[in-house]
């Protein structure tokens, strides 16, 4: 007889459910079956009404983030074998986001935060295309390389207690992205982004819990990026104070 695993999956269908509830499914166990494979199997063979997001199946697109036994994880990068022998295997929608349906979260607040920090190269004067690419040495790229690995999965937002309490907080990935561009030798937009970093909803809502960096599937280390942002904001504060004392306007 094939071994099966019970997966408890959160269901929420706004047109008929008052609140989310858990439904159990039996899935045949296999060493190489990911949680995403299990969810797809449930949807294909047991209940076609189950809704969940996915695309690449290889930890690149960032769309399959869910809570697995209470931990924010990519369903495609987590395997049934990791939970073998555990009492339960429970999958639910990401914490700290409104649920749209079943395992699908409404992450629009997170996407808005990403856009807020203007995550693109800002130049005071754009070079014409004919002049070629903006050049950079490998050392210059190394400064921000790790922070540019983010796949916008939102796991760090599900992990962040400050974002959970105040969705206005720009949060780990957006602040990391701001730092990524501020560290880029080709960028000249740091002064614009600092306005956001300097605010309470910027780097200063972070109390260095650090769980964001633990759950990040791409080792981006957003907690380190935020701490670098704090140092930058601290210096910016001192410079601004100095300028005010010299009679210049508050920036």
């Amino acid at each position: 007889m094939t071994e099966t695993v019970t997966v408890r999956v959160q269901r929420y269908r706004p047109e008929e459910d008052q609140e989310p509830w858990a439904q159990s499914f039996e899935v045949p166990y296999s060493e190489d079956l990911s949680i995403l494979d299990a969810l797809n199997q449930i949807k294909d063979q047991q209940d076609p009404t189950l809704s969940h997001r996915w695309s690449c199946r290889m930890a690149i697109c960032g769309s399959c983030g869910v809570m697995i036994n209470g931990e924010p994880r990519l369903a495609c990068k987590t395997f049934l074998r990791d939970y073998r022998g555990k009492d339960a295997l429970e999958v639910r929608a990401l914490d700290n986001f409104p649920i749209e349906r079943d395992l699908v979260s409404d992450i629009s607040g997170f996407i808005d935060h990403l856009e807020t920090v203007q995550p693109w190269l800002i130049r005071s004067d754009e070079q014409p295309v004919s002049a070629g690419a903006y050049r950079q040495t490998p050392e210059q790229m190394q400064r921000y390389a790790a922070f540019s690995q983010c796949i916008n999965c939102g796991l760090c937002y599900a992990a962040c207690p400050q974002f959970g309490r105040d969705p206005a907080f720009l949060g780990p990935a957006a602040l990391t992205l701001a730092q990524r561009y501020n560290l880029d030798s080709r960028d000249e937009g740091a002064s614009q982004r600092m306005n956001w970093l300097n605010a309470e909803a910027g780097v200063w809502s972070c109390t260095f819990v650090g769980y964001c960096s633990q759950v990040c599937p791409k080792d981006v280390d957003p907690a380190a990026a935020i701490n670098q942002g704090k140092v930058a904001s601290d210096i910016n504060y001192a410079v601004n104070l100095f300028n005010i004392l010299r009679g210049k306007d508050d920036a």
Binding site: A199, W204, T207
Partner: protein
Amino acid sequence: MRRSHEPIAWSLFGAGGMLLAFIGPGLVLATALLPWLAAHDPVATHAAVGALLAHPLGKLLVLACVVLPLFHTLHRIYHSLHDLHLRAPRRLMQLLCYGGATLLSGVTAWWLLLI
């Protein structure tokens, strides 16, 4: 976006942490040795500590060793209580933590000046 004034608290927190990291163990050792030295040779110990506190640089050192860790600790306590979901008005907690640190710093400075 309004600028947060948290950098002031964070700088003091950082300076306190740095100070503790570098000379914290030395401070603990010195404090632990003091009673023993005092019991061994009360007159010389009293004179030595008195000389340290009489010198302006000595006063500054002792002030830094008290004030910075004070801000460091109360800053961490303030944010940890927030993380623990303590239900208290934000302003009141700020007044208690940072006001408390400021008051105790003032008292320390005053006491050092009196010596």
